[in-house]
Subunit: 203 residues, 2 copies
Amino acid sequence: MNRIVTISREFGSGGREIGKRLADELGFAYYDREIITEIAKKVGMSEEYINHISEKGVTPYAFQFAKSFVMYSNLQSSQTDILVAETKILKEIAKKGDCVIVGRGANHILKDYNPMNLFVYADMKSKINRCRMKREDEKMTDKELEKEIMQIDKNRKNYHRIISNLEWGDKNAYHLCINTSGIEIKTMIAPLANYIENWFRRI
Amino acid sequence: MNRIVTISREFGSGGREIGKRLADELGFAYYDREIITEIAKKVGMSEEYINHISEKGVTPYAFQFAKSFVMYSNLQSSQTDILVAETKILKEIAKKGDCVIVGRGANHILKDYNPMNLFVYADMKSKINRCRMKREDEKMTDKELEKEIMQIDKNRKNYHRIISNLEWGDKNAYHLCINTSGIEIKTMIAPLANYIENWFRRI
């Protein structure tokens, strides 16, 4: 069976960097935004619309915010289409070969493929610092940035609720939870890759 | 500053084995039950009594179960004595040299020493299996064993509430959370030790 590493992550924790670097170190394929591109092709919607639906999560609560019942029904039906396409694409990826997949609830959707599931998180100070380094030109205050980080993670949590009974970020759903507060990610990749290789050897 | 690794763990998850093996691999001192022995010497109580108080955690709820107010007051005063002694002993240990400390809320008590805090956990099936391997002669059913495991962890949670605002097992209180379900611990020690060494190099 192919070795699949899934990475769930808090916004600003460096989960994507960990994913990319791990894929390089392990010699695994890497999937992240290209999954959205593939979904967009399959369902004939724009990537922005898919991102919007996926990130907000069309829960029953969304009904309050939809302007009409028709709009709510459309949202729900789009979400179903997206989930069906996403599941199909993730399973195709899983069959191709060893890989690292960031986000998209892959830990849950691919559970029959026995993936190794990582969760990457950090304290708020580290997440703000990491966001600042990436968007040097932005003029957000720390308070505004903190609000944005919390909102994005809230959306991820909502999205996860649609596909799984386990809470997003609940450590029991993951094999290793990595706190990146104050650490330089590239220095941790070699031992992490080694841990992952040993983990897969257990089977 | 000395490198201090603290290990908090669910009962049956193999946290103690990880601690011992990591200490060997890293060449660090290892502390576990000897802390209770030292507390017993300092406060002049038996190790059994200290274990009892520490594991139950004398919360306000304990009052319902104490047979009299005097008994409750004695329990409370014993607990304070134990906590004072424990804090002193843990700080002495922290000053001695690099070490691995299992349990005793060391992650919280030694927070000014910047320890690296690990949390070790596993699914119930793995915890039951691990307990069975250690106590081959016991005739407990799986149901009974599960109940015991849950009770011990509940006690640890209660004890932790006395010393910290963060919940026992809340991943935000730890730098790495390791799920040992289905893995052979000794195969994971080398990469873990390597991860820990790199983590301390960040400062």
